[in-house]
């Protein structure tokens, strides 16, 4: 029913901006990954796929990938578990749904540095908020745990990350769930479905498209994640917190140490890009379902 003219007119501005300021520079960058260069106006040295072969045997990159997968899977399970729980509870007829929804989303609107600083205060040994709460509760052995010591810091970071993300995905999923006609819920309630069953059997399948969207967003987020772990890691981030994207940043942008391996860094970026593509395609394939229209 749609005329070609409208299709073109509606797509053109987005497409032009997208091509000009994302695809074109991205291609330029991708091209750069075939060179060894610091990016300081020198003439880059052609190394072909050299950067990529190096990447394959770079244990730091693999370590970062492992961290990334942990975030994607463990963090994902926690985030979505919470988001589902909140969606379910908020839609079970609680009073003050709007208020709760806003408060759950709240962390997302605060600058990441503020959040990480807050969490470092929570986890800080000796004076920290968590430590003092545990002490006050008489749990001295728990209180003496150093939550941010190298062996724990990744999980401490994950707690903060999940705290933020749960709110973000709750909002998206709730927005989806609101589209489900209320009589669906009513019918299910009459048939004796519990809050959990309603969520699992009615809401979830009916907003499957939204779920898929959020899963894809989460994966992309997990793959590209920089800010939160980076800020959490402080001025000289620990390798325990590296994600590939952070590694990219460190290798290419002279953070603290004057490492300016822009070519290599770009290769990491390209690898991440393809990782994203594979993940999106995989997710779409695995979670594909018929579209539900109501």
């Amino acid at each position: 029913m749609m005329r070609r003219r409208m299709v073109v007119a509606f797509l053109a501005p987005a497409l032009i901006l997208y091509l000009g300021l994302l695809i074109f520079p991205a291609l330029q960058a991708f091209y750069l990954s075939l060179f060894e260069t610091s990016g300081f106006g020198d003439t880059p040295t052609w190394v072909g796929i050299g950067n990529y072969t190096r990447l394959l045997s770079d244990p730091i990159f693999w370590g970062a990938l492992r961290n990334m997968s942990m975030i994607m899977v463990v963090g994902g399970v926690a985030t979505f578990g919470l988001a589902f729980l909140f969606t379910m509870l908020l839609n079970s007829g609680l009073r003050g749904k709007k208020l709760f929804r806003a408060l759950i989303f709240l962390p997302n609107i605060i600058a990441v540095v503020a959040i990480t600083t807050f969490w470092s205060f929570v986890f800080m040994p000796r004076y920290g908020l968590l430590t003092s709460v545990l002490k006050a509760l008489g749990l001295t052995s728990l209180a003496s745990i150093s939550w941010t010591a190298p062996e724990n810091v990744f999980f401490a970071m994950m707690v903060g990350l999940v705290w933020i993300s749960a709110g973000f995905y709750t909002i998206l999923i709730l927005a989806g769930a609101d589209k489900v006609p209320t009589d669906m819920y009513e019918a299910a309630r009459l048939e004796g479905a519990s809050t959990f069953q309603i969520f699992r059997l009615i809401t979830l399948p009916m907003i499957w498209d939204v779920i898929l969207i959020t899963l894809v967003l989460w994966s992309i987020h997990a793959i590209k994640i920089v800010e939160f772990p980076y800020a959490f890691g402080g001025p000289n981030i620990d390798q325990n917190l590296y994600t590939p994207a952070i590694y990219l940043y460190i290798m290419g942008f002279g953070q603290r140490e004057p490492v300016y391996a822009l070519g290599y860094s770009t290769a990491i970026g390209v690898a991440l890009f393809f990782l994203t593509l594979v993940t999106i395609v995989l997710l779409r394939f695995v979670f594909k379902r018929e579209r539900v229209e109501y």
Partner: protein, 281 residues
Amino acid sequence: MNKFLTLRGAKRGFSYLVVGGWSAFSVFFILWIILASLKRNRDLFGKPWSIPIDPAWGNYVKTWVNNRFGDYFLNSLIVTSVSVAALLLVSVPAAYVLSRGRFAGRQALSNFFAFGMGVPIPLLFVPLFVIMTTMRLGDSLTGLSIVYVALSIPFSIYVLEGFFASLPSELESAAIIDGCSDFQVFRHVMLPLAGPGIATVAILNFVGLWNEYQLSLVLLNSPENRTLSLGIYSLITSMQYSGGDWAGLFAGVTIVMVPTILLFIILSERMISGITMGGVK
């Protein structure tokens, strides 16, 4: 009977406990930041639980005046709102066409846009700087806005497509019968119905751009052009060499945080009052 009631009460109570507890933590978080912004540095670290009986308002004055947060605030507001508005203007129609149009290559194009989400932003720093400088948009808020719009397109289109796709096609039929041209179907029926989705995307982008600093760091130089998040960023980086004013940092964070919270409260009302599909039967 009574047993039922209490069981139900217990379930209810559990719901409130979980949701309420989580929300309470958010409130605590905000309060803590605000309180921290009123403390002296020494107490901040020594007594993180303490309440500043003698609030150090000076932290705000310092941040607002010395660090030009007043100017930054205005910049942020302009850049963010203009970008979000422009972004919606560009991506809503595109998402609509991509999700409800019928033309060859629609799916491919939609995927093509989605793939943009996979490009790591740091890769674009140098090329974007070069492009912006060549177009004489370097170091300007306009340039920054344009970049913001372009880089937010994939995410926005992706999410919006989902919202458009699930609207009942019956309404499209009705509008066509009512004499709407394809544009009018969009303008008068689909667009308002996707309102909650658009508001959601607007909020998410607003929040994201309001706190964005990496791109602005690369693209902006002049202090008078800086945004609030850059201001925060420079506060943090100045911790090294010129003094760790953490309380001041929290004052800055509070300044950045308050408008977002306000905006969120206003916009979320819109987002939340999702249109119930009562009319379709």
